[in-house]
């Protein structure tokens, strides 16, 4: 077993995303306040702690949708924690409750940073990167709720262009070898094919079916 890095190394690895996540949190706070009031968005960022799911649920509520529809949108967006959890589980030590607690640190950026590329994950990087993500997301939400429209438009700053670039950087190091590259291509194709009509979130979960390519003989 490869040695885990310290949490501090994870914090360092997570820093490039601190500002974008903060600003994304700000935009969530700004958009959520008229719909949810000022306490609910902040509590939601702490309790749900998943940007994609929160934005999905918010857009349903903002359109006057029922709680059931908002929950469904959020759950679909979040169902990708299942395949990520199955992937990361074997790398987490301790008894079941301890592992369940560590599993709460699974967010997209940390999952990607912690992946060693051989199917195992670095627990220190996972926890450290999530500390940065959490701090940025929560403080961003608070700023957005409090400061509201004073804050500059994240889109004008091009911040929505950061996340594709971030995942692309990690993908390049991750997709070494023919198998991984083929599987990544299949995952991208599944996502693109489903996006025009499938409910938000589903295209990402469906893509993980491409991992079954791993069952073929090398």
């Amino acid at each position: 077993m490869t040695q885990d890095s310290g949490v501090r190394a994870g914090v360092r690895a997570g820093l490039p995303l601190a500002l974008p996540t903060l600003l994304l949190g700000v935009s969530f706070g700004v958009l959520a306040r008229p719909v949810m009031g000022s306490v609910a968005p902040i509590l939601m960022s702490v309790l749900v702690f998943s940007g994609a799911a929160q934005f999905a649920a918010l857009s349903v509520l903002a359109a006057g949708g029922a709680a059931g529809a908002a929950i469904l949108a959020g759950v679909l967006m979040n169902a990708r924690w299942l395949p990520m959890g199955f992937a990361i589980g074997p790398s987490l030590p301790g008894r079941a409750p301890a592992r369940a607690a560590q599993g709460q640190a699974i967010v997209d950026a940390s999952f990607a940073i912690a992946s060693r590329g051989d199917g195992s994950f670095d627990r220190g990087l996972l926890l450290g990167a999530t500390v940065v993500q959490g701090a940025a997301w929560w403080s961003g939400t608070v700023i957005g709720v409090v400061a509201g429209p004073i804050v500059a438009d994240p889109r004008a700053l091009g911040l929505d262009g950061i996340f594709p670039a971030f995942y692309l950087t990690l993908l390049v190091t991750e997709a070494r070898g023919r198998r991984a590259a083929v599987a990544a291509g299949a995952g991208a194709a599944i996502t693109l094919a489903l996006m025009p009509f499938a409910p938000v979130g589903l295209p990402i979960i469906a893509a993980s079916a491409a991992a079954l390519l791993g069952l073929r003989r090398a």
């Binding site: 490039p16 009031g37 609910a40 939601m44 998943s50 799911a53 509520l61 029922a66 709680a67 908002a70 929950i71 759950v75 979040n78 924690w81 299942l82 395949p83 990520m84 959890g85 199955f86 992937a87 589980g89 074997p90 987490l92 030590p93 301790g94 592992r99 599993g103 709460q104 990607a112 199917g119 700053l157 091009g158 911040l159 929505d160 262009g161 950061i162 594709p164 670039a165 971030f166 995942y167 950087t169 991750e174 997709a175 991984a180 990544a184 299949a186 991208a188 996502t191 693109l192 996006m195 499938a198 295209p203 990402i204 893509a207 993980s208 491409a210 991992a211 390519l213 791993g214 069952l215």
Partner: protein, 103 residues
């Protein structure tokens, strides 16, 4: 307002559970060769999927072509030139913002 609190409560429970299932089921063990081969592909696949999703996502189902694509292309060039992640990410933001301001 009640709809908001119901949404938050249920999503909280659902999210915590979904993050816990994998680690509880598969924790602390070594996987067989085939299982490891499948699991090893999850990260590259989800990353590729997230690249596509974050580049083309619209509000709700659909595909939206906008300045994020310019950001992604610029990031690709920076990556090909061997730049660090911080530079790649900054280049993407600048390219997205500039394209948005010009077009």
């Amino acid at each position: 307002v009640t709809a908001v609190w119901i949404t938050i409560a249920v999503l909280c429970v659902a999210t915590v559970s979904m993050r816990a299932v994998g680690p509880v089921t598969f924790g602390n063990r070594r996987l067989s060769g085939r299982a490891a081969a499948v699991i090893g592909l999850v990260a590259p696949i989800l990353l590729a999927s997230l690249v596509v999703y974050e580049t083309f996502s619209a509000r709700g189902p659909g595909i939206e072509l906008d300045e994020r694509l310019a950001g992604l292309a610029a990031a690709g060039v920076a990556l090909a030139l061997g730049r660090s992640m911080l530079v790649v990410v900054a280049v993407a933001a600048v390219a997205t913002a500039v394209t948005r301001a010009l077009v």
